[in-house]
Symmetry: C2
Subunit: 114 residues, 2 copies
C-alpha cells in the first residue's frame, strides 16, 4: 500500500497534538456504535482506498488493520468527516465481534445509566 | 448542581492527558451518530444525574449543557462506557439540529467515501 491522503481531505482535518483524528465505527443497517479508535493520515488514506478499516494504535504507535489478527475485519461502506474536522464516522459491515473482549460492540459491558 | 462523580465510575475512566474522555451521542431509535465531544468527570457526573447531555469545551475550557443557548438539548436515555474506559456512548433524544451548523448531525456535510 503506497500513496498519501488526498490533499483536499488532509487540509480539512483538525488533528490532535498527536496528529490523530477520532474514528467512530458504526454497523451498517442497525446503526450500532461498535467502537471508537484513532487514525492518522495514513490510516485514513488506507481506509478510504482499501475499504478495510485501518486505525492507528496509540499504545503500539503503529497502524493496525482491524481484524488482521482476529479475523474480525470491518468492510467500510461510508466515511464521513464531522463539522469541525476532528472525527470521522465509518459505516461498516463487521465480521464477528467488534470488541477484543468478544462482545459484539465495545459498549456492551458497562452500562452507567439506563 | 453539586456533587462528584461516583468513585466506582471514576475509577473505571481512562482519561486523556487533559483529563477528558470522548463522548459519542447517538439518536435513540434511529441510531444516527449525532456528534462527538468531550467530558471531564464533572460533565459526566452532571449528565448522569440530570439526564441533560453536558460536555466539556476544550476551546472554552468550561462545561456546556448541550442546547443551553441553542435550545437543541439532548435528553439522555442511556450511557455506556467502552471496554477500555476512554469513551462513553450516550443514547439521546435530540431537540432540533444536533450540529451548530443547523444540520441534523455533525456528520451530514462532508462525505469522504460512499
Amino acid at each position: 500500500m503506497t500513496g498519501v491522503l488526498d490533499p483536499a481531505i488532509a487540509a480539512r482535518l483538525k488533528r490532535n497534538a498527536d496528529g490523530l483524528v477520532c474514528a467512530v465505527a458504526q454497523r451498517r443497517g442497525t446503526g450500532e456504535v461498535l467502537m471508537v479508535a484513532w487514525m492518522n493520515d495514513e490510516a485514513l488514506h488506507r481506509t478510504l482506498t482499501t475499504r478495510r478499516a485501518t486505525y492507528y494504535s496509540r499504545s503500539r504507535q503503529q497502524l493496525w488493520v482491524k481484524g488482521e489478527t482476529s479475523g474480525h475485519a470491518q468492510r467500510v461502506h461510508e466515511v464521513r468527516l464531522d463539522c469541525d474536522g476532528d472525527t470521522v464516522l465509518l459505516v461498516v459491515d463487521q465480521e464477528g465481534a467488534a470488541c477484543h473482549t468478544g462482545d459484539a460492540t465495545c459498549f456492551d459491558a458497562d452500562v452507567l445509566l439506563s
